[in-house]
Symmetry: C2
Subunit: 329 residues, 2 copies
DNA sequence: TATCTTTACTAATACGTTTTAGTAGAAATA
DNA sequence: TATTTCTACTAAAACGTATTAGTAAAGATA
């Protein structure tokens, strides 16, 4: 359908090479006369020629595409993150092939295969469960890889993340500082390292201050169905609570829903969220949180990945981005 | 780096054709012996061969990729929409090359060029300003195109959308039904057709019911800087207001922020939003809204596009998806 | 005038696939 | 035994590009 260099060459009575050279601004280097160059350029412009990037990539070995694999492009963490990544890459003339795993290893498998087949030049990955094997596969194929947000402890890759333990610790101290003497932790029953780290820090805080630890682990996979009632009955049981620390923003939102539905001022104690949300500052009471700085996270991922692509794969490093404590009480 | 069919062929002492045929499950059709088939399959499995999708696409003319162009993948409308699209396409063995224009025509230009060059098999586009020319280009290149959410009146494409006028009308009636006799409309100073339609319906409602129309048009491009104070002073000026109808959810959020910052119960009248938001049902007061059913929207876009791809481009049609009125007062 | 340079290109090969026409040898048929 | 049919493959062309070595013609040099 679309015209190719070959056809253009025929129509202009010159060789394919000439067309290719002119189009790629190598006319001068190849001593193509100004006049012919103009003729080609004009013609190409006139018919609106678009080079076939597939063929181009095949010939050059460069796809100008990088893969971005997240859990859910639709959520309020990965969506804006993806936007930053896209923006940063656009400036370097790269484009993004993205995909959401939805936490399904089979999806992840397919996505990674597809990306490798598409010869993406690098991959940014927020791994979910059981992705060690896939990461290994990516590395075997010598495709630069940057992992962010979560990682698999037993596989060495470039890893961009926040300090979960430290951030969680800051959160606890803050709650203490505003008068909470008995706050609980709401988390999910997942063994993702970042979740474990957040919980660990809470437990350490309890051990150090002598506060009684109260932890509720909600079922990740049936959160929507079970979460609200589970949380409600747990709060009812735990008398004396004077604060709640949620380890993710969606848990905090779930918390808000649970505690609101029973009408009135069910909770007159502070809620704290790990991860911000665009409406946390207009809720009543306002919700303080740990904020992951998305842009620095994205910038680091992109910078590290591009360096790998440019200079070849180097030995894995960790990059820790510090979080912000947003005080709203 | 990655092994090619050619190398595999050499190593196995057979021809490239054989390898290709076996890999593509055409061994039987091509009368390759079971034994050789096994040998190839095993070897391919063993070395973890991944076909080069670029070469494959070049040979077959199919890229198995579709382009999705939205304004901002990070926002709460396009993000979840994109997720649905991805999920639906995954089932059909298609993948998504997405991009955000951020409302910048130059970005849009680049994105579309890139997608055409990548030979996407079809494009789903939520056009922003001045995209008529680009749409025309896509069509010229005979690439199936489905436009959603917004369209350019003077260019014929398949167009999936909600009925903005009708929905806006429903919203007005609802506000009236819950006792608002003097509600205003907050919108942006854009001439996007869907925004105009929402405003028009409000004006018609005013004309029919005799309600005085009060409209504030906020500057789209400087919303963050100017929006809040502009809204505050407008509300202060308009005495007697007893309700606000925001034509998008981000305007409604801006409204919440404006009206909250002045402390206390600045607004004791209902707010209504065009487009839902995950927290609208836990705010106090709860916010009613028009909800665009994302999944049906996505489903229709995908269905229409795939049909175009399969059966060839057909004459443009419109597909109207009906909205839901979510009553929360 | 014979040789060397320069100019302005082109031919040929490669990238990694798919696909179709072709073929050597074995088996079946007449 | 000569011909036909099968079997099990392979050769070759094609997809659309980039790149490098090569070349014919013109001009410069000695």
């Amino acid at each position: 359908m679309a015209k190719s260099i070959k056809e253009i060459a025929r129509e202009l009575n010159v060789s394919k090479s000439t067309i290719s050279l002119v189009i790629n601004h190598k006319a001068e280097k190849a001593r193509i006369s100004k006049e012919l160059e103009r003729r080609v350029l004009d013609y190409v412009e006139k018919i609106g020629y678009k080079p076939n990037a597939l063929a181009k990539s095949l010939a050059t070995g460069r796809s100008n595409t990088i893969g971005l694999i997240v859990e859910n492009i639709g959520d309020s963490f990965f969506g804006p993150f993806a936007l930053h990544v896209e923006e940063l890459l656009r400036k370097k003339n790269y484009h993004v092939l993205y995909s959401s795993t939805l936490g399904d290893p089979q999806n992840a498998q397919d996505i990674i295969d597809f990306m490798l087949e598409k010869r993406v030049e690098g991959i940014i990955l927020a791994p979910t469960i059981n992705l060690e094997e896939h990461q290994r596969k990516i590395l075997e194929h010598k495709v630069p890889l940057v992992v962010f947000d979560r990682n698999s402890p037993d596989i060495a890759t470039h890893y961009v993340h926040i300090d979960n333990g430290d951030s969680s610790r800051k959160a606890c101290s803050y709650l203490q500082s505003i008068g909470c003497k008995n706050f609980g932790l709401i988390t999910i029953d997942s063994d993702q390292p970042q979740m474990l780290a957040r919980k660990e820090a809470y437990l350490e805080f309890c051990a150090e201050t002598g506060m009684q630890s109260r932890i509720l682990q909600l079922p990740y996979h049936r959160l929507k169905q079970k979460g609200i009632s589970a949380l409600q009955s747990w709060v009812a049981k735990n008398v004396g609570l004077d604060g709640l620390f949620f380890t993710t923003n969606y848990l905090c939102i779930l918390g808000l829903k649970s505690l609101r539905t029973e009408g009135g001022k069910q909770f007159d104690f502070p809620l704290f969220s790990f991860d911000d949300h665009e409406l946390f500052d207009i809720l009543n009471p306002k919700i303080s949180c740990i904020q992951q700085p998305l842009e620095p996270l994205a910038k680091t991922c992109v910078r590290v990945l591009l360096k790998e692509i440019d200079r070849g794969i180097s030995s894995p490093k960790e990059y820790v981005i510090s979080t912000n404590l947003i005080k709203r009480q």
